[in-house]
Symmetry: D2
Subunit: 349 residues, 4 copies
């Protein structure tokens, strides 16, 4: 298919002999389209096909001219998937699980971008999302926050790519959680408009979203249980106050976390805790100053800054990512790299 | 002077016979320029002169073409101020107080936009700002959050116009503070770039500020003591965790407040508390949904939404203003209206 | 209806005794909503009702929280229109004319925002838009570029509010056209996203429209014949090269016109020509420097700058408006003011 | 130096054995900083040092946290340059030439980003810029619009990197110029704020530049003679009407060119002309639709669309680049690739 495509121009890197073949299912949305672009330039994978439920027959680069992926959007059909090793699935929750099930039956490994396999607790899932379409697959799934679950991701059949807010918040809070320092937690997150995806409505219209700071989903955001479950795994089992806001940037997300620590912690100890935690992580940067999201724009980096507030005794943690990259698509590729034992940074720097 | 000016065009309203004469000192900055424009169109005041320490001799509308105020910027000289009733002073802190002192000696009433007269406690002022240049004037000053101190503003010689963050935060938290419900408080504020004023640096350059979410002044923002002092006056004497962020809007500010209440509070009681508190306020709107800052852009309104989070037991209060209007210049005019017993909304709707 | 409405808050001015009653038909789109807001605050008109084909029963301020118009959206029904004097009709072309016909039968005067009555030549209309639904009404219509056709607007039954691009371009070029100086003309226009209206698509999505400069409708824009017809009326019958671009602002439009003059013209003569042409116009500002659209944001002003280029012999005219205000809704109110012999600037400064 | 640097984190690629050593002089401005980042990741060059006249001793990534170049800014000293092969010089015009002279004496090859060596005609240079500081070097310089002068760039001692507007305009117009089809030409260009560089003033302040469309340098832009000289080389010796505008994007530039052709040209012939002209160019894309600048954001691509307007007989050419990449820094790297016979796309895809 790649050979057959009338390329518009530029961009693609040749892949290595024997590179695993990957399909992106749901490539017409923001997350899938970016995943396709990253794989199209990745020397370690062959992007075999892009599928979608709309726009079939159109080259992906006609939908997203900035991505220069000339493959035509196809319907997802099992017959086309022979010899395909893996998939990134970019469907909405509830729609994703049945598709993942089909791909698993074909023996493919999957990175799923939806919420369907993120929560270990079925009860929690069903409280927030309704009945789970394929609960029997939950056992095959590993939570794909790469930095926390790398060892299990290597051999995983299904990797549940984290939500963007949990990615920023959990990476920001993990060192405190592991150290037993997490008391009360408030997470204030601000995100760019791309977080709303390709939805065309008042959330994304520039005449509404521009010159606006908009809080949304007050006291009911579905990313809350995901953050809580991950912090609990690290030893901090507590309710998290989470609030999201939209601001007029395209790609960018900042989780500002205020923590009442379980004991007083000095600035030096705090700094050391974070330095140690992420010393060897290629994509987590412990920053010397509060990070702006622009610093991580269009990258897989998470940049974190922690400070102790002497006035209130609280600890402030600021964690910046690109919601569409580390928060979604580039983390999916990072997970694929780990699953296939490629260098973790390949195709992402 | 108004008659002598070569008007560029349009915009000015004729003022009423006998209207108080007002000068804007420091009209070349954002706050002063907007105050000048508001007064220029206000039927109840005569904008007599605009002064500045730079750009003297240039019409203000050459500096701010969008404001259409043709008065030329002058140096501030006592000899020119005979017969002038009042001033809005838009100088940086420490520079403001000596100027206010001069104007007071001339018998003028002053709305001061700096921090110099906002804090009742001299000790607190000096801890955050250094030595106070005119502490003897503190007794003449009233804190100008109009909705909370209207009665004292009527006769005040000096009105200390609040900081923009305290305006949004204190209006948002006042009903809870008065009701004795304020336990732990975290205030997360996001503001547009105009909050940095006419400063030309990396904070305001579109190539840095655009596509960015930037936390700043972590654990050290000078608006913290102002919020704390006002809440204490309302009965809630506690440290406030405050954090500010810059986002790429021009004018807009949202204070997102998370409160651990001193007792459980139900949604209905919370709604009633806010409705009651602001029932008669012309410029505070208790909103039925989380407010975006765009809803209050270029207005003197503060729009507030309060919600109880059953999951965590916390109360969320979202308070939106235009940092340059209600947060600064239009609130100064609102205060002038009150000081001169004009209709409080005149010139502001 | 106004009395019955549960007002959210603030904003409305009481109107004068005997003020004409006006309806806005199609108030749920950008143009209609802004027209409604302008009338809601206008002391010289009573905004009697707002109608729409969707969202009936919802207060307009629920759709546009920034406008604070509490009237509920109704269906347009003749029975409700007794005693209503005039209407602003904000429908798409072809849909507008039949509605205008109904309102005319009820004896109402109409400002129509669509293209249906802008072109005097039926043949030209049908070449660009297809069959005209009510060609018999064309004779009743006056082209509503207020500055050029004021005398006819006073008594008009139908005022065809100009397109936003023609407003900027024709005001910019009229002095040259009248003076017989227009040779070859190229108009390059750039507009904010609000020009696309409430359409939710890739044109308006911040993740597409942000950080983008997008030319559109190359060599086929429907505003071309409107500009040509108006220039011909002024004595310059020639084809106009017109090209539009979208840029990431909300409201703002700049027509940059390059003219090969029919004879050499010196800078002084050019300046005098423009000064003279607009000396008495309250809403046209001949500017001393190239105008940015921000200078006319949210105003009814058109700001024009003309320069002679010695290098090429061409004349450059830059004409800035707010596409949603002078380009659409505030010009409609300006026309209503003229139609009802109110001060032309009332409700617009 | 690279080894000695305390890297902040991530990003750098190891360079090949024997890779030419390159210095970026003037790395603290936008153009130099991006050139440094591109070279830091380029496998075919060793970025040996970054120099600046301010901020010496600070890591470049402290000034530009998004670029992750840990080298400290140094003063430019001849003693440090032994064994260095080449330089990218990012100084203002007139300051650049003397520095280039020094580097040439050391035997280094130079890509100069200023205007000092762009104009072949000394007389033209001096009319627009004043006395030339090193006219004797003009003979060593080649104009670095890679696609037009590739053959001479290979062996050049000095490559004069083009201005951003000439890059877009000349690539857009070259096929017509070569074919003898260029009659009258108007170039309307719109550019993002990064084009103003790291200047901190009203041009770049978000509160002025946001929500604005601002024409500037009317009838006097210095890029005009550069465009004219290049078109003359291609056979079209004529004055060009050029006008620039700033719009609120960061990086992006669109040259919209209106051409009165010397003879009628049909759509098919026009399409063929452009397809042929750029068939083998890796970085010029002849697009099937009008290109938005977002499509070339942060790339070295130039995307061009040409159309014949039947109504006026004119030809419209739309040419989009990223002003900071293809318009400046990435084109400098493209030229370095050509100078050192590396694959032209290396480090740029």
């Amino acid at each position: 298919m790649r050979g057959a495509a009338e390329r518009f121009r530029g961009g693609a890197q040749p892949f290595r002999e024997g590179a695993p073949r990957v399909v992106v299912a749901g490539a017409t949305g923001f997350a899938g389209a970016l995943a396709a672009q990253l794989l199209w330039r990745h020397p370690g994978f062959e992007l075999f096909a892009v599928t979608g439920r709309s726009d079939t027959g159109r080259p992906l680069e006609a939908l997203y001219p900035r991505y220069r992926v000339p493959l035509e959007v196809e319907e997802l059909e099992a017959s086309r998937l022979e010899g395909v090793d893996a998939a990134i699935v970019a469907y909405p929750h509830a729609a994703a699980a049945p598709t993942v099930a089909v791909l698993r039956e074909l023996g493919m490994r999957v990175v799923d971008l939806s919420a369907d396999f993120r929560l270990a607790s079925l009860a929690t899932y069903e409280r927030w999302y309704g009945p789970h379409p394929r609960p029997e697959l939950l056992d095959e799934a590993v939570y794909g926050l790469t930095e926390l679950h790398r060892a299990q991701i290597v051999g995983a059949a299904i990797v549940a790519n984290p939500g963007c807010y949990p990615t920023a918040a959990v990476l920001g809070l993990a060192p405190l959680a592991r150290a037993g320092l997490l008391g009360d937690v408030v997470v204030y997150a601000k995100q760019g408009i791309s977080g709303a995806g390709r939805a065309f409505d008042e959330t994304t219209h520039l005449s509404f979203a521009g010159e606006n700071i908009l809080p949304y989903k007050v006291a009911e955001h579905r990313h809350t249980p995901e953050i809580e479950e991950q912090l609990a795994l690290l030893g901090a089992d507590l309710p998290v106050q989470f609030q999201a806001h939209l601001v007029p940037v395209d790609q960018g997300e900042l989780a500002s976390c205020y923590v009442t620590p379980t004991r007083a912690i000095a600035a030096g100890e705090l700094a050391e805790l974070y330095r140690e935690a992420y010393r060897d992580e290629p994509f987590v940067e412990v920053a010397p100053a509060p990070p702006g999201t622009r610093e991580v724009f269009a990258t897989n980096f998470c940049r974190i800054y922690a400070a102790a507030d002497e006035h209130t005794g609280k600890v402030v943690v600021l964690s910046a990512i690109d919601n569409l990259w580390k928060g979604t698509s580039s983390q999916a590729v990072q997970n694929l790299n780990v699953m296939y034992s490629l260098p973790e940074t390949e195709g992402l720097l």
